[in-house]
Amino acid sequence: MASLKDLKLRIASVKATQKITKAMQMVAAAKLRRAQEAAENARPYSERMATVMADLTAAVGEGEEVPKLMSGTGKDDVHLLVVCTAERGLCGGFNSQIARHARLHIRKLISEGKTVKIFCVGRKGYDALRREYGELIVERADLREVRRIGFENAEDIANRMMEMFEEGAFDVCTLFYSEFKSVISQVPTGLQLIPSAAPEGQEERSESALYDYEPNAESILSEIVPLNIRVQVFHALLENAAGEMGAKMSAMDNATRNAGEMIDKLTLSYNRQRQEKITTELIEIISGAEAL
């Protein structure tokens, strides 16, 4: 049984922790608002971009001059997985959810006999995958210094990906991140970037989409395809940033509540013990007085 003093110290320490989690929750709530706004503002653009790309992919016939980034290398042996996670922890299952999603994918690819390469964006994903697949990690991007994610951050990552593609380092590239649904729900998502995947259920539109290109198909595609990759990476980073803050907020809310419960429990047993002590002392005094 803990002594009175121990209990008192314990209560003080839990209270201090509660203060910290409370403060973190409020910081996360403030940051969430901004991150959510940014993610939601970027959504129409990137969604529209994705539809345009899908139309294009469906419309571009075989035999046309299509950039490799769009058509792929024709093989599907080496896969690059770009795993985007947060830089900081203490946000519940956010990072491990993405890592788990990626890990399942890696396992599937390896069992199919493919070669897997990993590009970690964010420290937490690297930490999570390092132990199991350390030798597969070929590239890392650090965003720790970045306070507010800008397009240039996404551009750097996308450019690095495209460089690797030019060097022939991989055939297929998939982007892993968390889609921000709401404060309490973030859905880990895998999105194939290279070659541009034609999404299902879009076939009906393709007949109308026999495009004219101004000035010509080659120059347009060579501009749009890389732009699309950059935009999608940017979209992923923004969604992630919002998701991280949402997850952090609810995790810290939970922690604060737990700390509150713990304090109540500890205070109760502290008071009980104090009462007990007083009672024992009184009995001692009374029986001492009676003995005289």
């Binding site: 529209r48 345009v52 294009l56 419309a59 109308s208 004219d212 347009i220 749009i224």
Partner: protein, 102 residues
């Protein structure tokens, strides 16, 4: 370039310039756009621009752009990079002169 209903599906890149469009009530809007591309289909036209500024603020935006490009030009290393920036600057200066003469 003018886009009317039932335009042939076209995909094109957009250079810096003015975009005019009317809504259903015939009200006209004007925007200045920097780079982007347009996806034109029979029943819709989507223009995704890197930046879009309402006409009222366009003059400032162009000047701001030119200034930052000038700064970038001083730092640029490659010749290719330099000529790309110069071309962009010429386009913008030209645009500024045509849209806001004097």
């Amino acid at each position: 370039m003018t886009v009317m209903p039932d335009h042939a599906p076209t995909m094109t890149t957009v250079r810096p310039g003015m975009v005019k469009f009317k809504n259903r009530d015939g009200k006209e809007f004007q925007f200045l756009v920097f780079h982007g591309f347009a996806d034109i289909q029979g029943d819709s036209c989507t223009l995704l621009a890197e930046t879009a500024v309402p006409i009222g603020e366009a003059s400032d935006a162009i000047e701001h752009r030119i200034k930052s490009l000038r700064k970038e030009l001083d730092d640029a290393g490659h010749r290719e990079h330099k000529s790309a920036i110069e071309q962009m600057m010429n386009e913008l200066t030209h645009l500024n002169e045509t849209v806001f003469p004097g």
